[in-house]
Symmetry: C2
Subunit: 609 residues, 2 copies
């Protein structure tokens, strides 16, 4: 018997950029797995959880089956959305994997989405040819360099960075007077061999994670993207703890700063390594965005006035500082640009997010929400922006929750209750060990939607997975037996209370913003959800429990790490960067503590649904 040649097709996964050839009989979910792309799947490929959505960009696939018609809306199907587990290639394919279909650790890899910004960097790089000095030309090396820039490129510079001054004389001689010269704001900031790169690095400096993007400044193309843990974490889990640590002594503050700079150095090396043929010395500028605490700790600014009421930043304006002054070695004269802060608890990361979603040019009414321990929310209307900061607490990040954990292998990141059945998906598909933020949130929503908790958040006794012990009632997600004798993974009554407080903080922030402009929920054209946690959460569940306004799901947009995108935009576009500085000054910041009826609003928001 002669074996027929198995039919196979090439499938390209966007924006990850992986491409491979697969046998026709494999589902797209299986093809993705073989490509190393970890798509979320709660039902294990049964077509019921609806998590493994992909969008077909080009090529032919199998017809939508009944399960897909149930899991997807008609609009989604018309836009090419399909469930990867139910779909088979019939020709070569190009398809897009939405961020929410990816498991958490992979999401950081794709967050560096290319943004459609015209490159207009603050750094300009020119190739120049200089006259060597001689007895008839005894000018200083600075004069011959500045003259060449002006004569050969019309680039009038006023000064040369002092660190460049310390190296450029021997450098020009070893380059036999042919050099590539980088200029920023009429200052020469680097002199190197002709043909080098002009690179920039955008950094989203989060309390937990640091995301870095290596960008070609001339094309605005991202060459590599990478996320690492913020090493300050061993000096305090959250910003409050870290500010307290920094206040202990100047040495503590210095250590916190050095740790983060070491991480940036590692990140820059890894980004260059990944991009191949790039060197940290070619990084000519950085844009760093972070919350005000991360911002202050990086700059070694005092945090007393930030940690104590009324919580004001030392500096709210944008700032440019030489990278070397932070102890960070890249190009000799490279500087770090920090976006402005809006208020004590609304930092440059939120500003970057507003930049990424084009808030200053949006019509609105639109909400832009950054969910975290502190949740920043801005309401955009005709280019006018008002902002609040909500103390949503660390519950959504797994802290203060009995079985909470970070988004790491084994963390339950999605969860579905169908009657007495529980389905869940762990990161990397390994054995469950705890619940991370998005899983915790899903659990709250699923408990409420299935009537296992009531509007007041009380766990009802009548579900088989609910049990009671000395701490009170708890809902068992994974029992001791299911873990082969390990401790159970549960959500306790106390956990539910924590989550209620968190969602009420966010909901009341939204209410205050809407009321301030006389808007109702349904007036909102769009709600943008940014940040790691925000990308994972199930919008329908969030609406169901009442955290988000009950507007059609299609008006929501989960944009992933918008802060990192905003940092990249500010890195490659001088125009956008300047616009943001003006824009931020016009933002109306509303302090919830003194907002009318805040307490009443918050109390009402504690009710689920």
């Amino acid at each position: 018997m002669i074996m027929g040649k198995t039919q196979s097709f090439q499938i390209e996964f966007q924006p990850v950029g992986r491409r491979d050839r697969f046998p026709a009989e494999l589902s797209i979910l299986e093809c993705a797995r073989r490509s190393g792309i970890d798509l979320v799947s709660l039902c294990g490929g049964a077509g019921t959880c609806g998590k493994c959505k992909v969008q077909i960009v080009s090529g032919e696939v199998s017809e939508p089956c009944q399960k897909e018609k149930e899991a997807l809306s008609a609009e989604e199907i018309s836009q090419g959305y399909r469930l990867a587990c139910q779909t088979y290639a019939q020709t070569d394919l190009v398809l897009t994997v939405p961020a929410e279909s990816l498991s958490a650790p992979q999401r950081l890899q794709v967050e560096g989405l290319e943004t459609p910004v015209t490159p207009d960097p603050t750094i300009q790089t020119y190739d120049v040819s200089l006259p060597a000095p001689s007895l008839s030309d005894l000018r200083g090396d600075d004069e011959r360099l500045l003259e060449a820039l002006e004569q050969q490129h019309g680039a009038v510079c006023e000064s040369i960075d002092e660190e460049v001054l310390r190296t450029f004389s021997p450098a020009l001689r070893s380059l036999t007077w042919e050099a590539s010269v980088s200029v920023r704001d009429a200052e020469v900031i680097a002199v190197g061999p002709v043909g080098g790169h002009s690179l920039g690095m955008a950094v989203d400096l989060g309390t937990t994670k640091i995301a870095g993007y290596l960008v070609d400044l001339e094309t605005a193309r991202t060459l590599s993207a990478k996320g690492i843990m913020n090493p300050q974490i061993s000096y305090g889990e959250d910003v409050i703890a870290r500010m307290a640590r920094a206040q202990r002594s100047p040495e503590d503050a210095a250590t916190l700063q050095e740790k983060v700079v070491e991480a940036l150095a590692t990140l820059s090396e890894e980004l260059c390594h990944e991009a191949t043929d790039a060197r940290p010395e070619e990084i000519k500028e950085l844009v760093v965005v972070g919350n005000t605490a991360m911002h202050h700790l990086l700059l070694r600014l005092p945090v007393e006035q930030l940690a104590r009421a009324p919580h004001v930043p030392a500096i709210s304006r944008a700032l440019d500082i030489k990278a070397r002054d932070l102890g960070f070695s890249v190009a000799p004269g490279a500087s770090v640009h920090l976006l402005p802060n809006i208020a004590g608890f609304v930092g440059g990361d939120h500003v970057a997010m507003l930049l990424a979603v084009n808030a200053w040019e949006a019509e609105g009414p639109m909400l832009a929400i950054d969910i975290g321990t502190n949740t920043e929310i801005s309401l955009v209307m005709h280019g006018e922006i008002s902002s609040v900061s909500c103390a949503s607490g660390p519950a959504f990040e797994g802290a203060h929750i009995s079985c909470g954990m970070r988004a790491a292998p084994g963390a339950i990141e999605h969860m579905l209750i169908t009657g007495q059945e529980i389905q869940y998906h762990t990161i990397h598909g390994t054995e469950p060990v705890g619940i991370c933020g998005s899983g915790i949130f899903d659990t709250l929503a699923q408990l409420f939607l299935n009537g296992i908790i009531d509007k007041g958040g009380r766990i009802r006794a009548d579900h088989p997975r609910v049990r009671e012990n000395q701490k009170g009632r708890e809902f068992v997600i994974v029992s001791e037996e299911e873990r082969n004798g390990g401790s159970a993974i549960t959500i306790t009554q106390a956990d539910v209370r924590e989550l209620q407080l968190a969602q009420a903080a966010i909901r009341s922030g939204i209410q205050i913003l809407l009321r301030d402009k006389g808007l109702a929920d349904e007036d909102l054209d769009e709600i943008i959800i940014a940040g790691a946690f925000g990308s994972y959460l199930n919008i329908s569940s969030a609406i169901a429990i009442g955290m988000f306004p009950a507007i059609p799901v299609s008006r929501f947009r989960q944009v992933g790490n918008a802060a990192g995108m905003g940092a990249k935009i500010a890195l490659v576009s001088r125009e956008k960067r300047e616009a943001v500085q003006k824009g931020v000054r016009a933002i109306r910041y509303i302090e919830l503590a003194v907002a009318p009826d805040f307490n009443k609003t918050f109390t009402q928001a504690l009710s689920l649904g």
Copy 2:
């Protein structure tokens, strides 16, 4: 017998500023000594050497005696010049001590002559009153500070120095929001208590000595002046040795830089101590001038290209650098301004001297000469300036001369030969131990004028103080017997050769400059001699040996430490500082090595007379 009350008068010595009451029977020379002012006197008060000249500003003194009429010109007497040793007060007096009448170590004290410059400093200081933050005013501290500056003083600032950012938040709180704020170029550079000083420090960074002036920036008044040794001296006597040392390793270069910065720190503390009620933290700006080697070593710039032909500086433009970047602690955001360099061997100290003598506004033709190991000469004509650098060598500073030494106690600093008689004056009047620069120069001139050496520099055998040993002929200034068995202090034939080379280098530089403009000696309206050595030398002698053009002595002006004066002018006047930057670019630098007929000119200049 009843003793009559001795008559006494008050005498004020300017510009030293000392004032005291003295018995009428003391000569002014003796009064000066009792005041601690060490006037030069070779003849011990006999009225023959003419060195103790003073000028009477107000009050009555004794009639000029015969000796004074011989030692002083009629013009001098009409201007109030008198010999201190022959003159007695008849009323209270105010008199001026010309720099050349003072012994060397004192001269540094008075070099900080007040200059008639309208204060127009780059630093502005304002008292501001800020609103404290509250729940209804949550702006960053930067915003409230910058707004107060603008609203209360119309001072629009763009940024706050990063070191100020690190301290101003707690500072403003401890000052209960009332502060004195210093601004430079739209940047806030210091925040302190209301009522503090706004100080500046001008520094003439010499190879041997560092002269510092503490200046009140608001009044342009010098509060204190002080000179200290340049501690780099232990790493090399001259600039060549120090540049070689810096090239050995980056650590050597760093050490040289640190040494000089330590000296500046000491100097700033001593200046503040002397001024009383001043603190180094109140120093808001420095202006440092020095030769290109001192300039490069201070900034840790590479010196390879400066040490090797064709000897070009890394940077010739003016530079502003934060003091902290040099490792120097003054006000947090204080910067150091370095005047531009003209060429590899014509540095900011010569520029400062040109500024002090108002070269850019002078009619001329005028020569401005800075004598040292390297002698810089500029010819000024209708505001146009051409400059040369002459390798005059260290002979005038006592190096390469058998009995040469620095200007220290016991150094012969003035010398006179009358027939077979020798008269000399040592610094502090102590026993002679060697000859310093001005004494060496005097000796050469006296030997020539007394026919003891001929035009070619050959020591003639027929003077009783000339003797011959295995090294050749030498002239004995102080014999072994006169030193009670110590070694003799002599000038050898080899010393005379060294001095001939030195004077020829200077003379030929002058010749080339004059010839370049088609000028003859007698066309010169003025010759300004600056620098420590230049203030001590006897102009008539210099003319006699042929080093200086033979024009009337009255056309010469010895201005002392003009570089330090120029630094002070640049410190207190933004307008002058800016004018200098333009002015320097227009200077025509003539490289002697390629000047027409340089060798011939030099050979001719070797002849004395």
